[in-house]
């Protein structure tokens, strides 16, 4: 069993598991942090960005004025942003049989994998994962295609040149494999390969393994996966949460008794407690609005935003924010808000019960009804006519490199009354803000990551007790910035097996058993004999028939009845005589009784020697040795066949025959 690790990102995993002749890809997360190296894509012409000076190396030898721009001491690529893809050279992606998706954040690289690689398999995902994943992809494609950039910068990627570049650009890895965003057509094609599954639904893969998604409690339709054969069980834990937010709670008990547990998607903010952050979010928001400023919340259009809106719904009154407008701007805003309300069966119990009242599960419906929350596909159109300040705007993309958020950054960045509150944990807020410097606007970082923290995960692992744990290497040591926090790492016995990008792990367990079916008529013919109370054994002679990874024992075909022939039988045609198999022996030879029997048969001079495995009996007069061991008995008796036979029969007396 092998695990190929195609992504080093702990929360955006992409691993391939080879298990019992199947090749299963677990998630295909897209590392979008690469876009932080690019200049933002403004929706309207930005004089500030267009006036940024080009970059020339200090000694003037390298001139990349066209490709690289200098902003407040940092260099950015002036081109359509590009993403860092999962590794594609480690194994032939066309051999992948299935892709299992755990949540909508972990499927953003799907088009890169399913298109143009020869992939012919199936993708399994839950319905909300597919639908919301589609929305997120659509949103990114829309953001990118809305502001096309003709220029595509490539010179800076030259290894020689890249080495000379400053700052983060110099250290960016695999820049040649970075790719521009996919098109809507590729998205549609990729998503057409998705087959929907429900929680705990069992899907057979070629009869060899069974995969089944379990609720992971992290987002709508998010799942962990169980991959099992008859005798082995692998659990794949991706983004999971034990907090009571909107999704169905995590199914922990089904993870028990795993041979291997692949653990990914722990919280990226182990020191930031989501509750505390939510509180921080609300108080900073209220503080800004009271002071007459605007609040900008760069966020994804699905996920935490539902919780933020729910929290604000309760907070608005107590903070006297009743009259402040809340805007949600995204090409998929409407769909996201409405989809969330219809996936009732994927919600936590509390919200599910509301459906029967009948009441919308999420309170944002009421915010929309009372006109406190308004949503628009973009800043163009209706929004501009209804826009009132001070207000709160939720919009993407959280990287601040594309989407409507870029516009608000340009609009509000100059005033210290305004505040930008980061809630998504995926991007470093300082890096996100870098191309907007100098910035007067206040910045508040309240990353809300509801995924498991180290404390919760150790408790979980104690409970489900997997034999082996495999995890990204980041989880096996404390975070770099807080090396003293030994509580922020996984400490397990045996220690977890770490992986990094491009690792290939041999998973440390051997397959020892295989299930074999026996046909009824063959079973009928067996003659079981009881070897100890409750345990019976029978010998079976049969033919193994293997097909689709299923093994069946069939009766040995009888020789076809000889057709009456007038020809003389030919000796050669005789079927070989099947000899009745010798009986199998079981049991142990009791030493004392055996010696007594020997004595009865006149063998008196016996020297008994104790060995590690049993005893050696030296029949001195006969110059014969009898080795009695746990798994075998040997009679060493040269040139005295009658004695050997006698001794053999004596030994056999003490053993059971089948």
């Amino acid at each position: 069993m092998k695990l190929y690790c195609l992504s080093g990102h702990p929360t955006l995993p992409c691993n391939v598991l080879k298990f019992k002749s199947t090749t299963i890809m677990l998630d295909c997360g897209l590392d979008t942090t690469s876009v932080l190296n690019f200049l933002p894509l403004p929706l309207v012409h930005s004089p500030r960005l267009s006036k940024l000076p080009g970059w020339i190396s200090k000694d003037g030898t390298i001139n990349l004025e066209k490709e690289l721009k200098d902003c407040a001491g940092r260099v950015f690529v002036d081109s359509q942003p590009e993403f860092c893809l999962p590794e594609r050279e480690l194994l032939d992606l066309s051999t992948i049989d299935v892709i299992l998706i755990s949540n909508y954040h972990c499927m953003m690289a799907l088009p890169y994998i399913t298109e143009h690689t020869g992939f012919t398999g199936t993708v399994y995902a839950t319905e909300p994962t597919l639908q919301i994943g589609r929305l997120l992809m659509e949103e990114v494609v829309n953001f990118m295609e809305r502001v096309p950039k003709a220029q595509s910068a490539t010179c800076w990627k030259n290894k020689e040149i890249q080495r000379m570049l400053p700052g983060p650009l110099k250290d960016a890895v695999d820049v040649w494999t970075w790719k521009r965003c996919y098109s809507m057509q590729e998205v549609n094609s990729a998503l057409s390969k998705v087959q929907l599954v429900g929680y705990s639904q069992k899907v057979e893969l070629f009869g060899a393994v069974q995969v089944s998604p379990l609720s992971s409690g992290y987002s709508l339709g998010s799942s962990n996966w169980i991959i099992q054969s008859h005798h082995e069980k692998v659990s794949y834990v991706s983004g999971s949460s034990l907090l009571t937010t909107h999704p169905q709670p995590m199914d922990q008990s089904s993870l028990k008794n795993s041979d291997v547990l692949i653990l990914t998607g722990l919280t990226q903010m182990p020191t930031a407690n989501p509750d505390g952050m939510l509180g921080e979010f609300c108080s900073n928001l209220a503080m800004t609005i009271r002071a007459g400023g605007n609040v900008l919340v760069p966020c994804y259009s699905s996920g935490v935003i539902y919780d933020l809106l729910e929290c604000l719904y309760q907070f608005i009154e107590s903070a006297s924010l009743g009259t402040t407008p809340f805007y949600f701007i995204s090409p998929v805003a409407n769909s996201s808000l409405e989809f969330s309300q219809i996936f009732a069966e994927w919600l936590c119990h509390n919200k599910q019960t509301k459906v029967y009242l009948p009441e919308p599960p999420f309170p944002h419906a009421e915010l929309i009804q009372t006109n406190k929350l308004k949503h628009y596909p973009s800043i163009h159109g209706d929004f501009s006519s209804e826009f009132r300040q001070p207000c709160v705007v939720f919009t993407g993309h959280p990287s601040l490199r594309f989407g409507d958020v870029v516009h608000f950054m340009e609009l509000w960045g100059k005033s210290s009354l305004n505040t930008i509150i980061f809630t998504e944990p995926d991007f470093s807020y300082l890096d996100a803000l870098a191309p907007y410097q100098p910035l007067a606007m206040k910045c508040v970082y309240c990353p809300i990551d509801t995924r498991l923290n180290f404390h919760q995960v150790s408790k979980l692992l104690k409970e489900v007790q997997p034999l082996h744990v495999v995890c990204p290497e980041q989880y096996t040591q404390p975070p770099l910035t807080q090396s003293h926090r030994s509580d922020l790492m996984l400490e397990l016995q045996p220690p977890p097996m770490p992986y990094r990008r491009c690792s290939v792990l041999n998973l440390p367990f051997r397959r020892r058993y295989e299930r074999v079916y026996i046909l009824p008529e063959l079973a009928n013919s067996l003659v079981p004999s009881e070897i100890k109370p409750g345990v019976s054994v029978a010998t079976v002679s049969a033919v193994v028939h293997s097909k689709d990874n299923k093994h069946t024992l069939q009766s040995v075909p009888k020789p076809p009845p000889v057709a009456p022939s007038k020809k003389r039988k030919r000796v050669m045609d005789e079927p070989p005589v099947v000899l009745a198999p010798k009986p199998l022996l079981s049991g142990a030879v009791p030493l004392e009784a055996f010696l007594a029997t020997l004595q009865k048969h006149g063998i008196t001079e016996v020297k008994v020697e104790e060995t590690a495995d049993g005893h050696i009996l030296h029949l001195q007069a006969e110059d014969t040795l009898i080795q009695l061991e746990e798994d075998g008995t040997h009679i060493v008796c040269d040139n005295n066949e009658p004695l050997r036979t006698t001794l053999r029969d004596l030994v056999l007396r003490f053993l059971q025959k089948l």
Binding site: N273, G276, G279, C282, M287, E317, A319, S483, H484
Partner: protein, 907 residues
């Protein structure tokens, strides 16, 4: 004793002796006993005043078929009856006593199994044992053994009572035998301590023979202590525990000969127990040792060698958890023992030393190692640290030579612990891996944080810690800013901040950056999503305004709110925003905080600002419209604060400020006295009282506050008599009181259905009457003397409280007429205040006016005060009512057909 009660008692006894099941409720017997206790304490001889009790006891004690609760009651009652020697003799002669306390009697009846009989037996004996005769009875009946057995009874109450009883017996024996042996010098010193309970022992009655008996009792008890102290096996720990409790009681109260003897007897067993090291017994053991130790301390004897040795042993136990407990127990006693105090301090500081790595003290490696191992376990780490922190403030108050390090270092350690809790990396302990393992246990523990903050708050008073102010300030602001801090941690951080600023008072070390950080965090927390946090923030703003500090730049005292937050311009807008909060507690706190913030400007007589007018309007709105009592109460208190600050600084009273204050006070009085919440009304009356004080201060006959509460011999300040009685003055003042609405508020309070309101109003009205128209002047004199004052009238509108007052006046007038006194017309000044008059008045839309003086004189205020002073259930709770209840219940039970059972709602 009440004659009526005496007459009812025989019948009650009959009822009880017949059957106890017909009692009105299960507390009746306890109430009866309470009554008897009161009577006995008052010196009444029960047998003399209620001879029926003797018969009752002898009847009941023979009837073992009765309800055990009645039997238990009888046992206890017998104790009360036999408390005097005379009665004891009577009981003994009628051979009742022997039977009542005869164990066999109860055992044979199968009643001894019932714990209520056992406890009745113990308590009866205990009550009786106040004279040597009772003691002899106890000794001769050989009750000691059963009592010792009861000490480990399975019922905790019985066991505890037996323990108390044993101690009582031993102490009684001690007093008697010490007299017998003419140990006079001890007696004089200890009469007070050996318990008033045996003060009336007749020492002379003790014979040599009985003296020997007592000695035998003492020996028997101490033998038992010695024998049972060390448990034979783990299951007997309970017995050891009981013995230790008894021992602690005894060692604290006995005097030298006995004390010595006891100690001598048990010393070896205690030693053995110490060596065995049962963790559950550590605290009781420490209690014993400390009881012995403090008994030396109190008597100014040199500490006994054995006790000192035991104590040293305790403070050197190898189990860290036990050691910490022992040290904490020692420190809590506050004994004058430098050596052990210093040792305890070292023990208690060790966990803090290890976890912070600050080298607070020098200890042996072994101790350090053992403690470190213990600290590696998360649960015990947190509890040890908390014990340690709880004791740190006390340690820093100790003499400097007891402390292993200066208090400043302890503050540093607490600060560094707080940093660890928030996961801060800058702790010096991060170097060693053992410490890292320990410090990991406290990361994120809000329990430790709370304890540490409490300790930090208390440490603010320690000598020489002022230098730490800036550091403390920084850390507390960090705590306040931390998104993960829970509401209690935030509250405690705010409290600590106020405390440190109020103690240090010199804020020169606080930089502008500190101030900015605090401003930012206060602003954020005032918008917090949790109301508790908003509440603590608002409270903090108020408290800060009350702290006087010195800023060295100007060497000028100001309040801390001005010094660190920039004063009103920052706080007032925040507080005004908090007035709109959805949570009433926050609104209430905001109002109080506003009062504290503005107090300075009131006192300085600063000119009125637009903002103040707005605030007052906002507050009046809260008083009228707020749905929650807390906020409305706070509004009234706001005006009380304002008014009292104005009157105490009347010399600088700003006319501008009064021009806003007085009209608002009028509204507050009228709205407050019509409120639905009784506390708002009481506060409103307090405001009215302030106005009375203000109006009549210096007026003859006016006593500030409650007239009935003044001590009869109190020295009345001369100033009260300086101003001559000037009728014109009184008229003017009374007129203004009427105009402000004080009189209406008081009258409406008087007829309020809430007793505290009515009581307070009544007292104030009496005060007013004494100044304006004292009753000491006869009716005719009064009319003549106060002709002008009587002209002051107030309105009595036709609704609510005024209707009540009118009714009372009419009744009074009718009574006066009936007595053939002066005509009723003069009572009420309006044309005719009969029913017809009232209607006419209300139909005509006029509000009738009455003379204030006449109202005050006619309302029978003193009688009313009398009624109001008694608690509302005084009738219900009287012994008479209890006896009647018992009788009624029994008659109801005996005639079930004729009377329906009363079903009462019991909540």
């Amino acid at each position: 004793m009440d004659r009526e009660c005496v007459s009812l008692l025989p019948r009650v006894c009959e009822v009880l002796a017949a059957s106890g099941s017909s009692l009105p409720d299960d507390t009746s017997l306890e109430k009866l006993l309470d009554w008897f206790t009161g009577l006995t304490k008052a010196g009444t001889s029960l047998l003399e005043s209620c001879p029926c009790l003797l018969e009752f006891i002898s009847t009941v004690v023979h009837n073992t078929a009765l309800d055990p609760s009645i039997l238990s009651f009888t046992l206890r009652l017998t104790g009360f009856v036999a408390v005097t020697e005379v009665a004891f003799k009577v009981l003994q002669e009628s051979s009742v006593l022997d039977l009542v306390f005869n164990l066999q009697h109860w055992q044979e009846a199968g009643l001894w199994e019932d714990p209520c009989i056992r406890i009745g037996w113990i308590q009866g004996l205990r009550t009786m044992m106040q004279h040597p005769k009772a003691l002899s009875f106890f000794v001769q009946a050989d009750f000691l053994q059963p009592l010792l057995q009861l000490q480990t009874d399975k019922s905790l109450f019985v066991a505890s009572a037996a323990n108390q009883m044993l101690a009582h017996v031993l102490l009684s024996c001690q007093s008697v035998s010490s007299v017998g042996s003419n140990d006079v010098d001890e007696e004089g010193e200890d009469v007070g301590r050996s318990g008033g309970s045996i003060a009336d022992l007749e020492y002379s009655a003790v014979t040599v023979e009985t003296n020997q008996d007592y000695a035998a009792v003492v020996t028997a008890i101490s033998e038992c202590l010695k024998k049972s102290l060390v448990p034979r096996e783990n299951t007997q720990l309970h017995q050891s525990l009981q013995i230790l409790k008894l021992l602690a009681l005894l060692l604290a109260q006995t005097r030298p000969p006995l004390w010595e003897k006891l100690l001598q007897m048990v010393a070896d067993s205690v030693d053995e127990l110490l060596v065995a090291g049962y963790s559950q017994l550590i605290l009781p053991l420490m209690d014993v040792i400390l009881a012995a130790y403090s008994s030396c301390d109190v008597n100014r004897r040199a500490p006994d060698q054995r006790v000192s040795r035991l104590l040293s042993f305790m403070l050197n136990i190898r189990k860290p958890a036990d050691l910490i407990q022992a040290a904490a127990a020692f420190l809590r006693r506050g004994l004058h023992d430098l050596v052990h105090t210093a040792q305890s301090a070292r023990v208690l500081l060790l966990p803090l030393d290890i976890i912070t790595g600050l080298n607070l003290l020098t200890t042996t490696d072994e101790q350090r190692f053992l403690m470190m191992e213990q600290l590696k376990n998360k649960t015990s780490c947190i509890s040890l640290i908390c014990v340690c922190l709880t004791n740190t403030p006390q340690m820093t108050l100790m003499a400097a030579d007891c402390l292993p390090c200066p208090p400043v270092l302890i503050v540093t350690a607490v600060l560094s612990l707080l940093k660890l809790c928030s996961g801060d990396s800058s702790s010096p302990s991060s170097s060693s891996s053992g410490c890292r393992e320990v410090s990991r246990n406290v990361i994120g523990s809000s329990k430790v944080q709370k304890c540490a903050l409490d300790a930090l708050t208390a440490l603010s008073g320690s000598p020489g810690v002022e230098v730490k102010l800036a550091e403390v300030f920084t850390l507390l602001v960090q705590c306040l800013d931390n998104p993960d801090s829970d509401p209690t941690v935030l509250q405690k951080s705010f409290q600590a901040l106020v405390q440190w600023m109020s103690v240090c008072s010199d804020l020169s070390s606080i930089t502008d950056q500190h101030r900015q950080d605090l401003l930012q965090v206060v602003r954020k927390r005032s918008c917090d999503i949790r109301w508790e946090v908003r509440d603590s923030t608002v409270e903090f703003l108020g408290r800060l305004a009350g702290v006087r500090v010195i800023q060295t730049t100007a060497e000028e005292a100001s309040d801390a709110s001005v010094a660190v937050l920039g004063g009103c311009c920052f706080t007032t807008p925040l507080l005004r925003a908090a007035l709109q909060d959805t949570e009433s507690y926050v609104r209430a706190s905001a109002i109080s905080a506003l009062a504290q913030t503005l107090a300075a400007s009131w006192q300085q007589g600063a000119a009125l600002t637009q903002e103040q007018t707005e605030i007052v309007n906002q507050l009046l709105e809260v008083l009228s419209w707020d749905t929650e009592g807390f906020a409305r109460r706070a509004v009234v208190r706001y005006f009380i604060a304002w008014l009292s600050s104005m009157s105490s600084h009347s010399c600088v009273q700003s006319p501008a400020s009064s021009s806003l204050l007085m009209p608002s006070v009028r509204s507050v009085l009228s709205r407050g006295s019509a409120d639905l919440d009784w506390e708002v009304k009481v506060h409103t009356l307090e405001l009215a009282e302030l106005l009375l004080d203000e109006a009549f201060s210096g007026q003859r006959g006016y006593t500030k506050g409650n007239p009935t509460q003044t001590h009869p011999y109190a020295v009345i300040p001369n100033t009260l008599h300086t101003r001559t009685h000037n009728e014109e003055d009184v008229v003017g003042v009374l007129n203004s009181l009427v105009q402000w609405g004080v009189v209406s508020a008081l009258l409406s309070g008087l007829v309020d259905c809430d007793r505290p309101v009515a009581l307070r109003a009544c007292r104030l009205l009496i005060t007013l009457r004494e100044v304006v128209c004292p009753l000491s002047l006869g009716a005719l004199d009064a009319t003549a003397a106060m002709a002008t004052v009587a002209r002051v009238t107030c309105e009595l509108p036709g609704c609510g409280w005024a209707r009540e007052i009118r009714k009372m006046l009419v009744m009074k007038a009718k009574d006066a007429n009936a007595e053939g006194g002066v005509s009723g017309g003069e009572v009420v000044n309006c044309d005719d205040c009969g029913e017809a008059g009232q209607e006419a008045a209300s139909v005509g839309g006029q509000t009738p006016c009455v003379s204030v003086c006449e109202v005050l004189r006619s309302l029978d205020l003193d009688e009313r005060l009398d009624v109001l002073t008694r608690s509302s259930d005084h009738v219900h709770n009287s012994p008479l009512s209890l006896l009647q209840d018992i009788l009624t219940a029994s008659s109801a039970r005996s005639q079930p057909d004729t009377q329906q059972e009363v079903i009462a709602d019991c909540y």
